[in-house]
Symmetry: C2
Subunit: 120 residues, 2 copies
DNA sequence: CAATTACTTAAGCGGTAACCTAAGTTTTCC
DNA sequence: GGAAAACTTAGGTTACCGCTTAAGTAATTG
């Protein structure tokens, strides 16, 4: 395979992982996710415990929404935010798969060692 | 609780999550993890399919090592890299916990709806 | 209807992340 | 021992990220 092909044809799935992991890499955004896991909240409620301006919180919110981790809708003058656990699952699945590949490898190694032991 | 306290006393655990998710946010580094899940590799082997210079790959490797996702040791002139699945597990656990908080919330909501239904 | 609340929009700024090239260093092979 | 292989180190560039302040707009509330 020619060099660099892996990253150039990046499937939609991989782009989604980029956004998801990028979103979760920031402690402010993880704090927002943790808050929303306990139930919906307005933007102001989300911002209350955070040491930054409200526009900054809204920017973080936009990153979370772009990643599909959070949805929000505005009613009157209040925007209510909710978590979308399905997207969390996508990240979880990727992690699980890497571990399963790794353990499968060790199972094969184990089987190989058992076989060669028989040859003694 | 005063504003902004959450992020200022960030436990060691949260700092580890920062590094882990930041490391996994980059598609190049995820490709490296996927490769290493299939077995150990040298730096040159890791770099072969990637569309960038070798120093760039080494920098990515350093990020993965700092996060604890990968370990490496040098024997002779070749550095061999291996995955450390334990750190993948930490990220997986965080995701699982957020989802469990969210589902617990829905269980309580469910129970509440069942109760009020009885009142009809 | 004036004041307050709850965002929204816009512009800017400092730091750092992700590359690069060029020039080392240390093994290994012939 | 000289050349090639496999990194390593250093320095520089560009772009994006996380935040700020300032100035909006739109919905309640007294």
């Amino acid at each position: 395979m020619p060099a660099g092909l892996i990253l150039k044809r990046m499937p939609k799935f991989a782009a989604a992982l980029n956004q998801t992991f990028t979103a979760l890499a920031d402690p402010t955004r993880r704090a927002m996710v943790e808050r929303l896991a306990r139930g919906p909240a307005s933007v102001t409620e989300l911002a209350r415990p955070l040491p930054m301006s409200l526009p900054a919180v809204v920017q973080h919110l936009q990153v979370l929404e772009a990643a599909g981790l959070v949805t929000s809708e505005k009613t009157g003058r209040v925007r209510t935010c909710r978590i979308d656990p399905q997207t969390l699952g996508v990240a979880q699945d990727w992690l699980a798969q890497q571990r399963s590949v790794w353990t499968a490898r060790f199972d094969r190694l184990d089987a190989f060692l058992m076989e060669t032991k028989d040859d003694d």
